[in-house]
């Protein structure tokens, strides 16, 4: 406890230096935690997909659960030859995975990764807890399209180009309804701060208070993450591998990993905004980390649901996807917004 008070003391005396130190430590810790967690997500996806498709999934490297499979894949990607295609716009081609990875970290900086209880007080685990973190995270999440577009545009490959176009068209079609859903949540929570949004859900989850908003946000999230049934940017049967057709070796690995990092962060955002975050009854013996347990249970359910959706549904055509975004989800999200205002008034 003395350490904690010493830290808060230092933060009050030297806020700027504290912010820099906090940023460096937080970024270094989170960069490794997120990447390891994303590996776990990849493993989970392959294993769950295997089960859902009545096959084994990875089961050779690292015992019958195939735990070391991802390590083996990483070693393979690192030892592959680094090829830059002749026609590529070299500087943009090289920078695309770097930009993609940096945007992932930008999202990670403002997302609370659960909370711990110290001295009966809930302390959220978040690096940059600013007033508008929900708006910030949503904005940073849509920056994803830039990395993908850079990759597709610079490859000088027709399939990559088509994938990049599709990615941007899809992003702008779903950006607006997603923003309206975030606003609807903020209207009920009276705040745009993610921690306060979670605290506002102590009595009722926003998924229950505005089910329509939850469904719309979930669809927009799956689209933003580019997962089945909305993975038109890399539809194998139509455009080879979409925006990353020309990428191989570690450069492909970075783009691929960034997708799974974003899947993890997006699922966390869904849990925070609609599923009550780390709220839950306090578990007696381990009350210190009981918010973390609830948080990770919800996160795991969302991740498995995303994988289940991927296995169950078939891919839409790109015109169906943009139509769904503009002509169905946008009006419905505005309806949900009015609903949120009305319900918020009724209970205020």
């Amino acid at each position: 406890m003395e350490l904690l008070s010493a830290i808060t003391d230092f933060a009050a005396r030297e806020p700027k230096i504290f912010a820099v130190i906090l940023g460096l430590i937080g970024a270094a810790v989170l960069a490794s935690v997120i990447n390891v967690a994303a590996m776990a997500v990849v493993w989970l996806e392959r294993k769950v997909m295997g089960d859902l498709q009545a096959r084994y999934g990875p089961n050779r490297v690292g015992g019958r659960w195939g735990i070391l499979q991802l390590g083996a894949d990483a070693i393979k990607l690192f030892t592959k030859e680094d090829i830059i295609p002749r026609g590529a716009d070299k500087s943009v081609y090289v920078w695309a995975p770097i930009v993609a990875s940096a945007t992932t970290m930008l999202v990670a900086g403002a997302i609370p990764f659960g909370a711990v209880i110290i001295d009966g007080r809930e302390i959220p685990l978040v690096v940059a807890n600013m007033d508008i973190s929900a708006l910030y995270v949503e904005a940073a999440l849509s920056l994803m399209a830039i990395g993908a577009f850079m990759a597709g545009y610079s490859s000088n490959n027709k399939y990559s180009m088509l994938g990049a176009f599709r990615g941007v068209a899809r992003m702008i079609a779903y950006e607006v309804p997603m923003g309206v859903c975030v606003i609807s949540v903020a209207v009920m929570a009276h705040s745009l701060n993610l921690v306060e949004i979670v605290n506002a859900q102590q009595s009722i989850w926003f998924a229950v208070a505005q089910p329509l908003g939850f469904v719309i946000f979930a669809i927009c999230l799956i689209t933003d993450l580019g997962r089945m049934p909305f993975d038109q940017t890399e539809a194998e049967e139509e455009i080879i591998a979409g925006y990353n057709t020309e990428y191989s070796g570690i450069r492909f690995g970075l783009l691929y990993f960034q997708e799974y990092n974003m899947m993890l962060l997006g699922s966390i955002l869904l849990v925070l905004l609609f599923l009550g975050g780390w709220n839950g009854p306090v578990i007696p013996v381990i009350s210190f980390i009981s918010p973390m347990i609830w948080f990770f249970m919800k996160l795991l359910i969302v991740l498995v649901a995303l994988i289940w959706i991927r296995v169950s549904l078939v891919r839409f055509r790109i015109d169906q996807v943009t139509d769904l975004g503009w002509k169905v989800l946008l009006p419905l999200s505005l309806v949900n917004f009015v609903w949120a205002v009305a319900v918020g008034l009724y209970f205020a």
Binding site: E14, A27, A173, V341
Partner: protein, 131 residues
């Protein structure tokens, strides 16, 4: 430097995040430079196009419809941006009420209706048709 933590200070850690986020892939690329084989040939570096020799480059002319999408997007995104500051206005008690309902809420409902009319017009004019 000492004093209160101001709003801008929250963004300093994010800059660190941006730097570390860029350094991780740069480190990975540097490691690959050292440990991976480098035997590049002319054929290896050609663009993939169904196994045949690529015909022309990918600089395609795209339909003007894409611009319409972009313009509609800019309009709607800016309109949605107006809703964000409104949340704090809605939450404050200082706004006068007419007929039991706050002016902030009636104003926003009118704004939403105007937005919806605009969207219906765009759909009717086929500005949002994918080609």
């Amino acid at each position: 430097m000492s004093g209160e933590m101001v709003a801008v200070d929250y963004y300093i850690p994010l800059i660190m995040f941006l730097i570390i986020g860029a350094l991780v892939p740069i480190g990975a690329l540097a490691a690959v430079k050292i440990i991976s084989p480098q035997k590049s040939t002319f054929r290896k570096r050609s663009t993939y196009e169904g196994g045949l020799r690529p015909i022309r480059d990918a600089g395609v002319q795209y339909n003007v419809q894409y611009y319409l999408f972009a313009i509609v997007f800019v309009i709607f995104d800016v309109e949605v941006l107006f809703l964000y500051p409104w949340i704090y206005v809605y939450a404050s008690e200082a706004i006068p009420a007419v007929g039991g309902v706050s002016i902030a809420i009636t104003g926003m409902l009118i704004f939403i209706v105007v937005l919806l009319i605009g969207l219906l017009y765009d759909i009717k004019k086929e500005a949002l048709r994918w080609v």
